[in-house]
């Protein structure tokens, strides 16, 4: 009984989509590296699976993360995803209630209103519930239309540009629910019944159209509904809407601890295809807001990479400040993906390179505490002398790793995609640290810190940024500081220290030990980038200056007498655009020692 010819487009579409998705997901899983497969095997029967289900409800259906960033946008996504899900789920319950245990084919559930006219029983409450859900989804569709017309209305400066596949799928998607409304309303007009919505629209149709006309369009409207559904299903795997399903395996795999690594693996596919192209990353991007660089933001980077047409100007025009990643509602590992794309483009290993490191050791001093200034810190000697003063005051014996020049930490090369070369530096430095037997390593450069934490195996050596080290000295009472409330500071979170390494509070507690801290408009997770990031090799000097000037403006607006940061690059960048005092954290500590 649950078959009519108009169901054919729907059935064909659903089968093709199902096969496409299965083929893709299975082949991606098969191509995963062995280690990743082991992780899946280990995770699948653990609590990670339960956590994943909960996360899927929260994020894939309700879209709570988007709500947090932008409530209206959150409602739009929630009404489409959760609304559609409820339509399917409640529809399933409805047919089950009507038909009992009888097996109903897929189209029977989807087109139940059509087939229900042949059933004698009628439970009106379901009509109303289904109509309410349909209205919920339609409100989301209306918002989506509105967003296309004017993105600013939804609080977004820009919205994403679409590919051809996207446009086809989008057109189908926009028609699905209005088509359903029309089909069900016409049915209500012809056969009666229907909930508050379809009955009302049906009633209106009865008034305007003759019975003959209604009869004539009855089959075609159901054909149309089935066709747009089928069309959407066929187009979906080739469009942005691939994310609807892909986010689900992604959540499982992520909870099984699979990660994006420095060289690309098939796990990246799950990440790439989970992007919903919501465009939140575009608004977060300073390259967009300050420089008007379009087409390079994460959403476009992912699009290009999916389509295998990623170019260097897109891959390398990114500060990797991490603001977009921080805000991405899907939690895509954007920086790591960009890094391994760069590695794919530029990593050309050669064993003989950097042979000149052999035997190099310019370090001096001895002590269990090592200090790694980093290349950039050598250009901000105030920081070096301040650290010396602090070490002396705390009575710390220090091994100076690179005060007279040393080997780079390797992160700049890694950021440029030359992973193998970077690893040469990692090897060299690990050997150097081990040889001098240090147990603590302090660095003033957040760039070095990040790579020490992530790419170095330094078991037994505690890694500290100088802000953490100084905080500890204060806590242990090894140094004491003069406090004066009338000294006001504002603090700029360096990207690699804050978002990159999660160190937000130590510098703040040190500043509060000296004077008053005034937060700028954007701080902590939302802090701006200074523009001097080594990750971007596309923007020129003048453009770096523009980004820095925007940051300076915000910092100066706090009215604080001194601008403080904890990264030599940020300090250099801010120094170019401010006339106010700009200091590294260590400097204000050194000059306020008791």
């Amino acid at each position: 009984m649950f078959y009519a010819h108009f169901c054919i487009p729907f059935i064909v579409g659903a089968v093709i989509m199902l096969l496409t998705l299965l083929y893709r997901y299975i082949s991606w899983v098969v191509e995963l590296p062995k280690g990743d497969k082991r992780l899946i095997a280990k995770g699948i029967f653990s609590t990670a699976t339960l956590r994943s289900v909960w996360e899927i409800i929260r994020e894939s259906l309700l879209h709570i993360s988007i709500f947090r960033v932008n409530p209206l946008l959150g409602y739009m996504h929630c009404s489409l995803a959760f609304g559609w899900f409820l339509l399917i789920a409640v529809g399933w319950i409805e047919t089950t209630v009507y038909m009992g245990a009888e097996l109903v084919p897929l189209q029977g559930h989807v087109f139940f209103r059509y087939f229900a006219t042949q059933i004698d029983t009628h439970i009106p409450i379901f009509d109303h519930i289904m109509d309410a859900l349909l209205l919920f989804v339609l409100s989301g569709v209306a918002l989506a239309w509105f967003k296309r017309l004017r993105s600013k209305a939804l609080g977004m400066r820009r919205t994403t540009k679409h590919s051809v596949g996207d446009r086809i799928a989008l057109s189908f998607l926009w028609f699905i629910f209005p088509a359903r409304l029309v089909a069900e309303s016409v049915t209500a007009a012809v056969y009666g019944g229907g909930g508050f919505l379809t009955a009302a629209v049906g009633g209106a149709l009865q008034h305007t159209l003759s019975a003959g006309a209604l009869e004539a369009i009855y089959e075609p409207v159901w054909w149309f509904y089935s066709a747009v559904l089928g069309g959407f299903f066929i187009a979906m795997p080739h469009s942005r809407y691939m994310h609807i399903f892909t986010e689900i395996p992604l959540i499982f795999l992520r909870n099984y601890r699979l990660r994006v690594t420095q060289s690309s693996t098939s796990y990246d596919n799950f990440q790439l295809q989970s992007c919903s192209r919501c465009g939140i990353c575009i608004d977060a991007c300073q390259l967009q807001s300050e420089l008007g660089h379009n087409g390079v933001q994460s959403v476009y980077f992912l699009r290009d990479r999916r389509a295998n047409r990623l170019t260097m100007p897109v891959a390398f025009d990114c500060l990797m400040c991490g603001k977009c990643q921080e805000r991405c509602p899907v939690g895509i590992d954007l920086n790591a993906l960009r890094l391994n794309s760069r590695a794919t483009m530029r990593n050309l290993p050669n064993e003989r390179r950097y042979g000149y490191f052999k035997g190099v050791d310019r370090s001096e001093g001895s002590g269990k505490v090592g200090y790694f200034a980093g290349c950039m810190t050598l250009l901000t000697p105030h920081t070096l002398t301040a650290m010396q003063t602090i070490f002396d005051a705390a009575g710390e014996e220090v091994w100076w790793a690179d005060r007279n020049g040393g080997v780079c930490c390797g992160r700049p090369l890694r950021l440029s995609g030359e992973t193998d070369s970077a690893n040469k530096m990692v090897e060299y430095n690990i050997e150097l640290f081990r040889r001098h037997g240090i147990t603590t390593l302090v660095t003033s450069c957040p760039i070095c810190l990040k790579t020490f934490r992530e790419d170095y195996n330094l078991e037994g050596i505690e890694l500290l940024h100088h802000s953490q080290y100084i905080e500890r000295l204060i806590e242990q009472g090894r140094i004491s500081l003069k406090h004066a409330d009338n000294q006001s500071f504002t603090y700029h979170d360096p990207c690699e220290l804050g978002r990159g390494s999660g160190i937000y509070e130590p510098p703040r507690s040190v500043i509060k030990a000296i004077g008053t801290l005034i937060e700028p408009k954007h701080h902590h997770r939302n802090s701006l980038c200074c523009g001097s990031s080594l990750a971007n090799t596309i923007i020129n000097d003048a453009e770096q200056l523009k980004i820095s000037a925007a940051l300076t403006l915000e910092l100066e607006a706090t009215g604080a007498t001194t601008l403080v940061t904890a990264c030599p690059l940020c300090k250099k960048a801010l120094g170019r655009t401010t006339a106010q005092k700009i200091k590294d954290l260590s400097e204000i500590v050194a000059s306020n020692l008791n």
Binding site: R353, G405, G410, P412, E418
Partner: protein, 110 residues
């Protein structure tokens, strides 16, 4: 030979601008016109982290490239650690890191 790159005083080599093919150099400059603005102050080389440990001289290398002397340049540039100190110092604001990458990409293993 990469080992005595640019320093073979005993074997004076003329930069033969009649024989040198500047096409690759032109390509590099077309994608990075700012490289032309170098005033040869040497600040990049003076601060160079790699130059501190070996005979790497970025100013000299990119100048030679601009004269059409490409031999050995690729591996010579692979001594660079891309640390970016030079970019912070360049008085002309040249994006030196990008210059290294561009030259490497354009010349390949010449």
């Amino acid at each position: 030979m990469a080992t005595n790159f640019g320093f073979s005083i005993s074997k004076p080599r003329v930069i033969d601008m009649d024989a040198n093919n500047l096409r690759k150099s032109d390509d590099i400059l077309a994608s990075m016109p700012q490289l032309q603005s170098c005033i040869g102050c040497g600040a990049c080389t003076a601060s160079c982290t790699a130059g501190n440990l070996t005979s790497f001289n970025f100013r000299k290398v990119h100048t030679l490239v601009r004269r059409g002397e490409y031999t050995g340049v690729y591996e010579e540039l692979n001594k660079c650690m891309l640390c970016g100190k030079c970019r912070l110092l360049c008085p002309r604001g040249i994006n030196t890191r990008a210059a290294v990458m561009t030259i490497k990409r354009t010349l390949g293993d010449f």
